[in-house]
Symmetry: C3
Subunit: 206 residues, 3 copies
Amino acid sequence: MRLRLTPRDTTIIDLLVQAGNALVTGADLLEAVIMSGPEDRADRLVKVRDAEHASDDIVHATMRKLNSTFVTPFDREDIYALASALDDVMDNMEAAADMVVLANPSRLPDGVETQLSVLREQAAITAAALPGLHTMKGLEEYWVEINRLENDADEVYRDMLAELFSGAYEPLELLKVREVIDALEDAADAFELVSHHVETIAVKES
Amino acid sequence: MRLRLTPRDTTIIDLLVQAGNALVTGADLLEAVIMSGPEDRADRLVKVRDAEHASDDIVHATMRKLNSTFVTPFDREDIYALASALDDVMDNMEAAADMVVLANPSRLPDGVETQLSVLREQAAITAAALPGLHTMKGLEEYWVEINRLENDADEVYRDMLAELFSGAYEPLELLKVREVIDALEDAADAFELVSHHVETIAVKES
Amino acid sequence: MRLRLTPRDTTIIDLLVQAGNALVTGADLLEAVIMSGPEDRADRLVKVRDAEHASDDIVHATMRKLNSTFVTPFDREDIYALASALDDVMDNMEAAADMVVLANPSRLPDGVETQLSVLREQAAITAAALPGLHTMKGLEEYWVEINRLENDADEVYRDMLAELFSGAYEPLELLKVREVIDALEDAADAFELVSHHVETIAVKES
């Protein structure tokens, strides 16, 4: 445990918490895009883009705060990496929403619903865990659970891949579906990367 | 602002500047490979490989200098990361040149020209910005501009993906074109990663 | 050269060595999965999974030791990164074994045998090099050699890509083979990333 000679400015942690909360909104909006029919997708995609811009603003505010703060609550580069990783999740969710519009597959396998519910759960527990950076409490449970959810995501993703390669899809349709499920898998992985950065901070603080 | 008790050896910054300049050459040579017909590509690819080897030599010289220098201008690991990121851009440009020869698509979408001009512009402003590591001046404009260019690259990349998935391409041809545009997109992303490492150094120095 | 004021606890290095040894087993088991016929693959895949779980256990033991040790042999975050990178190699090898079962290509190009022998060699020299973390001896030869092997892997991978794009494969079969050779290429890259983390440690210690 490090000795603290100065009180920590916790504004930066509050900003990270805000970035986590934005991911809950983002995951809901992503689900709305993907589960809607092609006719509504373009409109709903606009909301995902708005959420992504809001997330960008939070990350930039975090960076500005970081640049103007002498004593940061954790190592400057770890905060930077965590804020970037939170932004990467949002970027990945936007990319998945984007891809379903761009590739426009005729139908999506059922596993996509599981991928979306994993993302919503990962968003919820990430948002719930980040305030724990104030006290460094409850964080291990969080990253263990993110890892468990990521394993669930992997399993459903693998089942869908086997289905895609089974011969039941035409090559072009296979490629379209693949884009969407890959983008969703990347988002689940990005949540895990966030948890790794939280773990790095926790390891240093312990 | 850190106090400097010893003068900084700036040879390492000069080497990073050289690595940046090599990317200007690399982007020009990459464009020459891609925009030429299949019959000239193999010859021009040799020049990209030479540029990549020259870049490797600069990175290795940077690492050797880093190993033999007691007081480095910035944190040792940040210099290492930046030198590696500069080398990654060159690797990505070589991979793109390579891929157009390997996959040999019948024709490339017009957006590829935009991708190439973004890469040349990213190379130019990266090369122009790196000497700013001596004074830490003008770097924020650089990374904002790199990010803007990367967004341009993303947009044209997305348009080409939509075109590929529209049904206008046979699956095999789609896959071939995809390889080339993905490799070019990766190179644009790699420039952004360079700018992130410059930003990390600037954040620590501020 | 840093002055050491306290004796270093070398248990952590021993755990990293164990993680390296596990990769030798992993590479052998991966080869057994891929080179066997489809009928035996599922059974052999179980052994790769077991090896991956054993690797996870070693990494977790390393992390626990890291959390409970005051004076670590190297910077805490570099040990963390190295342990994670060793685990990533195993994850990539498991993913390759998994993918040959999921995608189930009709036949694999001959280059796959070269990919597998590169992986086995990379595993062998990684396992042989990691005990050098005790003395910091012989590490440069190791990372130079890993890089050379990775270049061999790249070359055979590129030749296979050219073959895949030559028109000799149906699109679905191309995609199946692609999955397997990409996963093997990723594993070779992951070995190189391990060597970079070893190099980072060596740079700081020098």
